[in-house]
Amino acid sequence: MAALTPISRKPLSLVLPTIAAAGAFLGLFVGTANGSGFLGVVIGAALIAFMGFVYIALLKNETLSKWISILGFATLGFVFAGVPGVVLGALSGWFYHWFTYWLYEGRYRAKLLPYLTSRQVLWFYSFRVICGAIFVFLITPILVVMPLSFNAENFFTFTPEMLRFDPAGYSLKHYVDFFTNSEWQRSFKNSLIIAPIATIISVSLGTLAAIGLSQSHVPGRRAIMAVMISPMIVPLIISATGMFFFYSDIGNWLEGTLGLPKNFVGYVKVILAHSVLGIPFVIITVTATLVGFDRSLTRAAANMGADPVTTFFKVQMPLILPGVISGALFAFITSFDEVVVVLFVGSAGQKTLPWQMFTGLREQISPTILAVATILVAISILLLTTVELLRRRSERMRGMSPS
């Protein structure tokens, strides 16, 4: 976007307090890390305000002052935190310099509509800062485990070597542990058995239920719907306790009367329990897509001689597929992440990945858990990206514009 608005220099009375506030924000962190948050705030505010004053009123050379800021802050960073401090210092030096000139030259108005009041401009940027802060809060806990999973030590600690970017502080040993440790491998395999099968069952039953419940002639469909989605509403620990006793009886019957092997019955119990948890997600997403489904299409298909099964697979299913797929994703993730129910219903032979992570976290705080978490995050991103790409592709092929 080209500059819409002519920009003009702003008075120091606006620029200095604003950058001082921003400096105080940085000073709060540095000060807290070094003992006194209050002192940090005062020094940070004073330092940045002084820097801004020198640049604007005395130096008047933007490129020169930029390099002074970057090098000066990098040196300060080195004094406080060594090598990583240099990187952070250089970045903040660049940022504060840019921020100072951005305000002073009035560049912040350049891309906004000319008739906006200062209050609207303030809100425009506050809104973006708030959005950014929310994003940071959501993503930081996930990002922070990633470097820790490359720790050379057996603790959840950023060691001094890691902070100095010393290669000796990093290692892949926790990844090696995951791929060679039989307990982790067995639980990973169990998760890969249980989650897909539970997903298939949830999707089949959930889709059928959603289609049935969307017919207006089904009696008491609201009540049925409420019962079907109750596993989502009832606290998991209560469902789990109930399932434990319910499936114990079924399991005893399967083992005792039918003589099925114990381990196999264990899988059946966990898979059925996870299917029950997944069904509500499928019902809700499929019901939502069925709202936009044109019923006259099924009547047209019937009119042309298709039986209900053909109609379902050839006409209805392709149209509600996005809902089915997102329901399937939810069902899969529910089963893949689930720890409470499997702790109750499963026995050690069905130990899943979350179960292993749960006991691992409690009994031995080992960074292998972080390595697994990193791998799972990578898998989730790949999975979601693939599904999204496939969805866009199918929409393009059907001549719709991707939304």
Binding site: N190, I201, F264
Partner: protein
């Protein structure tokens, strides 16, 4: 019908993917380095000898609750369970663990001494076969305590000489005893004092003096992590965890053995197993608690074997090759001042004192 077909197909898939040999045993233990030592000393040789496949379940923490639920549901999936002595007593009283006769169902010592004599006083319950003696004791950061490292348990309560956070377990057991010891109560009178409400208040008042500096832990792995981070100056945990932290992970931490509290850990067999599984479990117990096996476990973790006849066989660490004896809580140099955990007292008073302690914590 489609769902049924799917169910059958999926079941078959699960079977083919997860099928194991008919002879399976689920052994429940604590996880971590402890389970690893059992895997090396007991499970692996037992599997080699008999072909029985052993599945580890790290659920000892909630063993009592889970065994109750399993028993109620008539679906006991565990074959052998590793629990602390106090839990074994509760399980035995509730009829959830089977009684075992040491003379006929456990191996005698190599010199012919009966198992009952070999274990001696450590057979604290009819259902319990002791395995190890462990202690709950303190570790401290050597780089954060100045020139005079702590050598007395009361240094934990001394915020002036040793400023900084301490890690204590989030339950009254051990903490109340240490508090009274450091409040001037003689060792032999501790439980008499703790019986009275005034004595309990006295212990809590002593804990109050350091409450602001305490990080409360609930899992055995917490204190090692806190010490490794330098977040606490000293903290209590099981001695084997500290051994691993100091010797295997080479952290700047040292042991404070003073007033360590001894406790026992061992096996029980759940009541209500089928005859076949019970026979299997007893066979495993007979093998895993003989003199040599108990001594073998000490190669992997610094817990003292429960049999008198195993002690002379304790050798070197399996990987590091260092002598294990000086790291045992029972070593004479470490055991100059020890404290014996009183099972009967805590069995009687645990609920009351727990409630009082939790209320105090929340204040």
């Amino acid at each position: 019908m489609k769902p049924t077909k799917l169910l059958i197909a999926s079941s078959a898939l699960a079977l083919s993917a997860g099928a194991v040999a008919a002879a399976d045993m689920t052994i429940v233990s604590w996880g971590g380095a402890y389970s690893k030592s059992q895997q090396n000393a007991y499970h692996a040789p037992y599997t080699a000898k008999t072909g029985v496949n052993i599945i580890n379940d790290d659920s000892s923490n909630e063993a009592v609750a889970k065994l109750r639920a399993m028993n109620e549901a008539g679906n006991v999936t565990w074959d052998v369970v590793d629990v602390v002595a106090a839990d074994a007593m509760r399980l035995c009283d509730e009829g959830l663990a089977m009684e075992i006769d040491p003379d006929t169902q456990l191996a005698p010592a190599p010199d012919g001494t009966s198992a009952a004599d070999d274990f001696g006083d450590l057979l604290v319950s009819d259902c319990f076969i002791p395995q190890i003696v462990y202690s709950t004791t303190f570790g401290y950061r050597t780089d954060l305590v100045g020139d005079t490292p702590p050598d007395d348990v009361c240094d934990v309560f001394d915020l002036e000489a040793y400023p900084g956070k301490r890690a204590l377990e989030k339950r009254p057991i051990n903490n109340m005893e240490w508090a009274l010891l450091c409040d001037g109560v003689a060792k032999e009178d501790v439980y008499d004092v703790l019986e009275t409400p005034e004595g309990q208040d006295k212990a809590l008042a002593k804990l109050d003096t350091i409450k602001d500096s305490v990080v409360w832990w609930s899992a055995g792995a917490d204190t090692p992590q806190l010490l490794a981070d330098g977040e606490v100056v000293m903290g209590s945990t099981y001695n084997g965890r500290l051994f691993s932290l100091i010797v295997e992970q080479k952290q700047p931490v040292a042991m404070l053995w003073d007033a360590q509290v001894f406790d026992l850990d061992g096996w029980i067999i759940p009541a209500g197993l089928s005859e076949e599984r019970q026979k299997q479990a007893l066979d495993y117990i007979y093998f895993a608690t003989d003199t040599q096996r108990l001594a073998d476990q000490a190669q992997y973790i610094s817990y003292g074997p429960a049999r008198a006849s195993s002690a002379p066989l304790v050798g070197k660490h399996a990987e590091l090759g260092i002598d294990m004896a000086p790291h045992m809580p029972t070593d004479p140099a470490n055991a100059t001042n020890t404290f014996l955990y009183n099972y009967e007292f805590w069995a009687d008073y645990r609920d009351d004192i727990d409630a009082k302690f939790q209320a105090w914590l929340a204040k």
